[in-house]
């Protein structure tokens, strides 16, 4: 009898794990449940302005989450994206507000900074073969200091929406009549479509998955693993640059030395969305779903009276849960 019981236990465990395989569906359901929960718990949550602020918040998280998905796909990671995003945005903002350069130049420089740091990360990981965790932890320290040095340690802003050169903010939020329209969602959708195609339908994407799946086998098949491994980090850097622009477009003030911890939102989102930390597995759409779960959670918590410190505790726990699911999933595969 005891044996039978154990067997049926094992069966339900299996079924549970299989469901985790269809994780995206589960995540969407959790997301809806969360949304309903917040609406019920707080009258003011269900308003249009809340949706807009969830959206505001989602732009830069989506960009760094898409980027880090590529690093994760190779079996690596990139911890420099949170701090990096703020750093590149500060550099761009410095050029615009202190040196008086056009906004367009500031935007391009922001993206270039991201790609440059991505190249450095890629070099450390793919060529020098440093552990990604340590390598990007170090570059995180570097960009953190760099942002402070370049701006002289003081906060700055990109032009406000009503300023003459504040046009870039309408990339993300347009005011039509009295209503604010979150147009940034268009860019998000575009980015998700393009990066999905790159990941699943082009050589770079295929080889990045191959590297995460079995690097040695990819190398023996004649794939230039160093090049494509580096590219994953450059893509990650590029999106961190984009995130820097979105961050500047969403927030009024940029403070040097901030941004640390935001990478965890992105990594958490990607893993919740089904990307494996062990590499080789994941989708961009999954990451997007993960991002929205995170954004609803982070936006909703203050509405039920849980402020910043509580948010950190909860994000930490959600990340543990997400990683645990990943570990279970990988164990079952093996």
């Amino acid at each position: 009898m005891a044996d039978n019981k154990k067997k049926s236990n094992a069966l339900t465990n299996n079924a549970l794990v299989k469901k985790i395989g269809g994780q995206q569906l589960v995540v969407i359901l959790v997301m809806i449940a969360l949304f309903i929960f917040f609406c019920v718990a707080s009258e003011s949550f269900g308003q249009y302005s809340t949706i807009v602020s969830i959206m505001d918040f989602s732009y830069y998280v989506t960009f760094i989450a898409i980027g880090v998905t590529f690093a994760l796909m190779t079996g690596g990671n990139d911890l420099s994206i949170g701090t990096g995003m703020v750093c590149y945005s500060l550099i761009g903002g410095f050029l615009i507000s202190k040196l008086g350069l056009p906004v367009g130049v500031g935007m391009i420089v922001t993206i270039l900074c991201g790609m440059l740091m991505g190249t450095l990360n890629g070099f450390l990981v793919a060529v020098l073969e440093l552990p990604p965790f340590i390598a990007t932890l170090c570059t995180m320290m570097i960009v953190r200091g760099l942002g402070s040095i370049i701006t002289g340690g003081v906060s700055l802003s990109w032009p406000a929406a009503d300023a003459a050169n504040g046009w870039f903010r309408s990339f993300f939020k347009m005011t039509v009549g009295n209503t604010k329209v979150p147009v940034g969602v268009v860019w998000i959708i575009l980015a998700v479509i393009i990066m999905s195609i790159i990941l699943t339908k082009t050589k770079p994407g295929r080889y990045i998955i191959a590297i995460g799946s079995n690097k040695e086998a990819a190398r023996l098949s004649g794939v230039n693993v160093i090049k494509w491994h580096m590219l994953a980090y450059i893509i990650c850097g590029f999106f961190t640059g984009l995130a820097g622009i979105a961050y500047a477009g969403t927030f009024q003030t940029l403070t040097p030395g901030t941004g640390a911890g935001l990478e965890l939102d992105a990594i958490c989102a990607a893993i919740i969305g089904g990307t494996s930390m062990y590499g080789g597995q994941g989708t961009i759409v999954g990451t997007l779903i993960g991002v929205f779960l995170m954004c609803i959670l982070k936006t909703g918590l203050p509405y039920i009276g849980l402020q910043a410190n509580w948010q950190q505790i909860i994000i930490g726990m959600v990340l543990i849960l997400a990683v645990l699911m990943d570990v279970l999933r990988t164990k079952k595969r093996a």
């Binding site: 044996d3 154990k6 094992a10 195609i197 339908k201 082009t202 050589k203 295929r206 998955i209 191959a210 995460g212 799946s213 079995n214 040695e216 086998a217 990819a218 023996l220 098949s221 004649g222 794939v223 080789g280 597995q281 595969r333």
Partner: protein, 497 residues
């Protein structure tokens, strides 16, 4: 007889401490299957790795299609038409079958990968080879046998002129081997030159045209398969008699007490309802193919991995082993198959390794009694004939066989009554092997009991008193050594669900 397509002459290759290849010759002809035979460690795989550019040769020439060549890396060899189907599978488990076959040379439609076309091409390839595999299936979901077929299909799709099969049948069922042979005969008709590395004599007789034999890194000779007998080939392979002959009957009395009893052990997919008994003074062989679940069974028994269910009795008493510490307390010692990862700490001295499992016996209050550690280590070094200049020598400087002896010494300090030897002679040269065998025999003569997991059939037949055979996580049979033969074991080892 076909014309020569590839010649290797005077190939020499040394690794630190090992002269792996000593001026070896090899000749591959069009439309012919050449068997490459030799005991484990004879240098077959090394020779093939030199040929395909995985290793650089120190000396010698390779002539391919009339020109001297030296392939920079496996993909250069591939491009030239020399491909290898590896013993260990090189697959990308997250990608589909077709994506695996075309990795590195995807079929494109403009800038995008044309997966549909790749699926079609893979299907055509499989049809040509009479293989039934869905190109859209994820590689990780296939059985080992099917994965092997994909590897072969991938090799063939490179427009290969020379194909090397490195023990392709090691993980295949009999039906799958038949399928493989059909493919090989087909390729022979298409004038492709093939090298077939295997240990199984009947396969060699069935499929190959000539046999080249290697021993201890040297070229011994080449025979025409149909004109030679099994014994001819074995004589060339073994050359000198260094092992005892296979055991013909068990040395253990029928009424010897059962020291270990395992009942319905389950752990994950790889250990399913395994039950067995170990008697005092017995060497119990565990045989099976790659991935049969033998190591997993031992790890679950030892508490290294979690078990789902099952009971373990030691000397008739039920014990609950939850972790390796529990197992050690019950007098079980485990010599891992992967010495470097689990067995020894290579950067530490012989003495430090020897005392590691029994630190408490070497303590002087809070401090380690170095003197005692050295004394005890010396005793073991002498008893086991470990070749080391001093006990302070770092283990990394010893040969594989002597490293293994340090691991054995470590468990002997614990005075374990039950020793699990997982692949005790893997990566050890022939001389040291027979020393390990002698040592194992001495241990059981002292009344200890040994479980020996081994993938080498000859080793199982020489050492065991009883043989348990596993396949896909299940115990498929139990043979007394008097009734065990290569054939009977292989039959059980391929008995799948």
């Amino acid at each position: 007889m076909g014309e020569v397509i590839l010649t290797m002459k005077g190939i020499d290759k040394s690794f630190p401490g090992v002269h792996a290849l000593d001026h070896v010759d090899l000749e591959i002809r069009k439309g012919e299957v050449l068997a490459l035979m030799g005991e484990n460690g004879a240098g077959k795989s090394t020779l093939m790795k030199v040929l395909t550019g995985i290793y650089k040769k120190d000396e010698g020439t390779i002539t391919y299609e009339g020109k001297e060549v030296e392939f920079e890396n496996p993909s250069a060899a591939q491009d030239a038409g020399v491909v290898i189907v590896h013993q260990e599978l090189n697959m990308l488990s997250h990608l589909t079958v077709a994506q695996n076959i075309f990795i590195g040379r995807e079929i494109m439609k403009g800038k995008l990968i044309d997966d549909e076309k790749m699926n079609e091409e893979a299907k055509k390839l499989f049809d040509k080879l009479n293989i039934e595999i869905d190109p859209k299936e994820i590689m990780g979901n296939l059985t080992v046998g099917k994965q092997q077929m994909c590897e072969i299909a991938k090799a063939i799709s490179h427009d290969a002129k020379v194909i090397i099969f490195d023990e392709p049948s090691a993980a295949l069922t009999e039906a799958e081997i038949e399928e493989l042979f059909k493919i090989i005969r087909d390729l022979r008709d298409k004038q492709i030159g093939m090298v077939y590395i295997s240990h199984r004599m009947d396969e060699i007789k069935a499929i190959t045209d000539r046999v080249t034999v290697m021993r201890d890194g040297t070229y011994v000779g080449t025979l025409i398969t149909k004109d030679s007998t099994k014994d001819d080939i074995i004589n060339m392979m073994v050359g000198r008699v260094i092992y005892e002959d296979p055991k013909t009957e068990s040395a253990v009395p029928k009424d010897a007490p059962v020291v270990l009893k395992v009942e319905n052990l389950n752990a994950g997919k790889m250990v399913r309802n395994v039950s067995f008994e170990l008697r005092k003074g017995e060497i119990l062989g565990f045989s099976g193919l790659m991935g049969a679940g033998r190591t997993e069974t031992m790890r679950a028994l030892f508490g290294a991995d979690e078990k789902d269910s099952g009971d373990v009795y030691i000397n008739g008493k039920k014990v609950d082993i939850k972790c390796p510490q529990d197992a050690v307390k019950e007098g079980i010692g485990y010599l891992s198959e992967d010495r470097k990862r689990y067995g020894i700490v290579v950067a530490k001295s012989v003495a430090e390794n020897t005392s590691m499992a029994t630190m408490e016996n070497f303590m002087n209050g809070l401090f380690i009694n170095k003197k005692k550690e050295e004394e005890v280590s010396w005793q073991h070094v002498k008893a086991l004939k470990t070749k080391t200049p001093t006990v302070e020598t770092e283990v990394v400087n010893l040969s594989g066989g002597n490293q293994q002896k340090v691991v054995i010494a470590k468990w002997l300090t614990r005075d374990c009554d039950i020793l699990i030897f997982d692949e005790p002679t893997r990566g050890i040269d022939v001389g040291a092997k027979s020393e390990i065998y002698t040592l194992m025999n001495e241990l059981v003569a002292q009344g200890k009991s040994i479980i020996m997991v081994s993938s080498e059939m000859t080793e199982v037949l020489r050492m065991s008193d009883r043989v348990i055979v596993m396949c896909e996580g299940r115990k498929t049979g139990e043979l007394d050594i008097s009734e065990a033969t290569q054939e009977s074991i292989m039959h059980l080892a391929t008995q799948r669900d």
